[in-house]
Amino acid sequence: MSIEIRNVGKRFGDFVALDDVTLEVETGSLTALLGPSGSGKSTLLRIVAGLERPDAGSVALDGEDVTARAPQARGIGFVFQHYAAFKHMTVRKNVAFGLEIRRRPKAEVAERVDELLHLVQLHGLADRYPAQLSGGQRQRMALARALAVEPSVLLLDEPFGALDARVRKELRVWLRRLHDEQDVTTVIVTHDQEEAMDVADRIALIHEGRIQQIGEPRELYDAPANDFVMTFFGPVVRTEGGLVRPHDLELSLDERPGASEAMVARVVHLGFEVRVDLLDGNGRAFSTQLTRDEEAELELERGQIVFVSPRNGSVGTPGLGVGEELVQ
C-alpha cells in the first residue's frame, strides 16, 4: 500500500513540529524517516498512523484520504520505541490481541500466533510475561503483534532505540529480511544514519519540521542537498572550497597548487583507519582520515608541516560560501 503525505503541518503550542511536509512512500518499499531528536519525524509517523492529527494537509493510503480516519480503521501495524507490551498478558496473548479483537476463530488464531512466534523466534517463550523477556525479545514480540493482523503498512517508531548496540544491529538485519519476506510497506523512524542506510531503500532526512532531502541512501551521501544533509552523515571539514568529508582530504609533504598548510597535532591509529588531527594556519583544529598504508607512506610525526587538499571528485555541498557556520 502506498502512502501519500501532502502538505502536512503540525504545531504543539508555539513549537512547529512539522512544516508543510510532502512525502510519497511507494508500495512495498522500506523508507526511513531520519533526523535528530525533535526534528518531527516521530510526529509524522504518528500522523500516518492516526495517533496524531495534522493541523494542515492530508494523508492518503493507496490514494484514499484517511486524514480523518481513526487508527483502528487504517490497516496499519505500529511498533513503539518502548515496546508498549501488554504487561498483564503472556507473549502468546499479546500476539493474539489483534486477532481476538477481530473475533477470528480460536483455531485460526492459535495457528497464526504459532506461525508468528516461530517467525520472531519466540515460540519457546510463548507463556512468559513481557517482564520476563529481554528488550530485544520484547521488541520482537511487539513486531509479531503488529504483523498478526496482516497490516499493509508497518510503522516503526525508533524500534531499536532502547536496545544495546549489538542487539540493535542484529534486529536491523532481521527487520530487513522480514520486510522482504512479508508483503508490506514499511516506514521506520530513526536518528541513527547508519541504521537508516543499512536497512532502508529510501531515506527522508527531516530537520526542524521540514524534509531536507529524499532519496536513496547513496544519493544523500554522495549528493547532499545542503550543509545539514552533508553534516548529518558523519564529520565534515570546512575548507576554502566548502565542506568535505575527512576521508576526502589528501595530505602531502610537498607543496602543491590549491593545497593549504597545516601542522600535525596528533596521529591516532584506529585499526584499518588512521585519524590525523591537524591545525590550520589560523590555529583551527580539524581531522582527516587516511588508510593505514597511506599513513605509513607519509610517516607523519607530531609537529610536522603537511599540505592539505580535497581529493578529485570529492563530495561537497553546492553554493557554499566561505565563512558560513557549520550546522552540526
Binding site: 498512523a49 492516526g50 495517533l51 481513526a70 487508527p71 483502528q72 496499519i76 501495524g77 505500529f78 513503539f80 518502548h82 508498549a84 507490551a85 501488554f86 504487561k87 498483564h88 490481541f97 489483534g98 479483537i101 477481530r102 511487539a142 503483534r145 503488529a146 498478526a148 493482523v149
Partner: protein, 268 residues
C-alpha cells in the same frame, strides 16, 4: 554494628508502641469492656430490631455509594490523566474537597440545599420526593465524603502506565471500550481494588454528614454509627461497645480481604 542494631530495635519499638497506643489499644479496650455486663447484654443489643435495621441501612448505603464512587473515580481519573479540557486543574483540586472539608459541613450544606427553602429542596418537595431525613440524603452525604478514594488511587497508576499500551491497542483495531476493558482496567485493577476497599471502609464508618441529614428517626434513618452514639447518649456503654465491635470487625474484614486479593508483587 552494635549501635546500628540498637537503633533499629528502638525504631521498631517506637513504631510498635505508636501503633499500640493509637490503634490497637482503644480497639482492645472496647473489646474488653464490651463483655463487662456479660454476653447476654451484647447479644440482646445486637439482635435488637433497631440495631439490625441500623446495620442493614449502613450496608444498603454502602452498597449504593461504593459502586457509584468506583465508576465516578475511574471516569474522573481517566478524564484527568488522559484528556485535556478547560478547568481540569480545578476538577483535580475539587476531588480532594471531601478530605479537606469536615463531614459536618458537608451535612449542613446538603441540609441547606435540600431542606425547606433550599435551592433543590422546594423542587423535590413539590414533586413529592423526600430527600432529607431519608435514604437519598444519607446516600448523597456518604457519596460525598467517600468520593476521593478511588480517583486518588487510580490517577497515579494511570500516569505511571502511560498511554502507549492503549495506543498500541488502538492500532491493533481495539475500540475505546475494548481498550478500556482489556488493557486499561487490568492495568489499574489493584489501584481500583484498593480504592474500593478504602471507600467501603469510609462508607461503613461515616458519621458526621449522615448525622445531620438523617434526622435520626428510630427504626428508619438510624445507621450503625448513629446507633452507637444513641446507646452512648443513653448511658448504655456496653451496648455502644457491642455495636462498635461489629463495625470494627467489618472494617478489619474488608482490610483482610484486600490483603488476600492483593498479589505478592503489589504489596509493600
Amino acid at each position: 554494628m552494635h549501635g546500628r542494631t540498637l537503633r533499629r530495635l528502638s525504631l521498631r519499638g517506637f513504631a510498635l508502641f505508636y501503633l499500640l497506643a493509637v490503634l490497637v489499644g482503644p480497639v482492645a479496650i472496647i473489646s474488653w469492656r464490651t463483655f463487662d455486663n456479660g454476653i447476654g447484654h451484647v447479644w440482646s443489643t445486637l439482635t435488637d430490631p433497631a440495631t439490625v435495621h441500623a446495620f442493614v441501612l449502613t450496608l444498603e448505603i454502602t452498597a449504593i455509594a461504593v459502586p457509584i464512587n468506583t465508576v465516578f473515580g475511574i471516569a474522573v481519573g481517566l478524564a484527568i490523566v488522559r484528556r485535556d479540557f478547560p478547568l481540569k486543574g480545578l476538577l483535580n483540586a475539587f476531588i480532594d474537597l471531601p478530605l479537606a472539608l469536615s463531614p459536618v459541613v458537608v451535612g449542613l450544606s446538603l441540609f441547606l440545599l435540600y431542606g425547606r427553602g433550599g435551592w433543590l429542596g422546594d423542587w423535590f418537595m413539590r414533586h413529592g420526593i423526600q430527600i432529607l431525613f431519608a435514604l437519598p440524603a444519607m446516600v448523597l452525604a456518604t457519596i460525598f465524603v467517600s468520593l476521593p478514594f478511588v480517583a486518588r488511587e487510580v490517577i497515579p497508576t494511570l500516569r505511571e502506565i502511560g498511554d502507549e499500551q492503549e495506543q498500541a491497542a488502538h492500532t491493533l483495531g481495539a475500540t475505546g471500550w475494548q481498550t478500556f476493558r482489556r488493557i486499561t482496567l487490568p492495568a489499574i485493577r489493584w489501584a481500583v481494588i484498593y480504592g474500593v476497599v478504602l471507600t467501603t471502609a469510609r462508607c461503613l464508618g461515616e458519621y458526621g454528614a449522615v448525622a445531620i441529614v438523617s434526622g435520626r428517626i428510630e427504626g428508619q434513618t438510624m445507621t450503625a454509627t448513629l446507633t452507637v452514639e444513641d446507646h452512648y447518649d443513653n448511658f448504655d456503654l456496653p451496648g455502644a461497645y457491642s455495636i462498635s465491635i461489629v463495625l470494627a470487625l467489618m472494617a478489619i474484614l474488608v482490610l483482610i480481604a484486600m490483603i488476600f486479593l492483593r498479589p505478592e508483587e503489589a504489596t509493600a
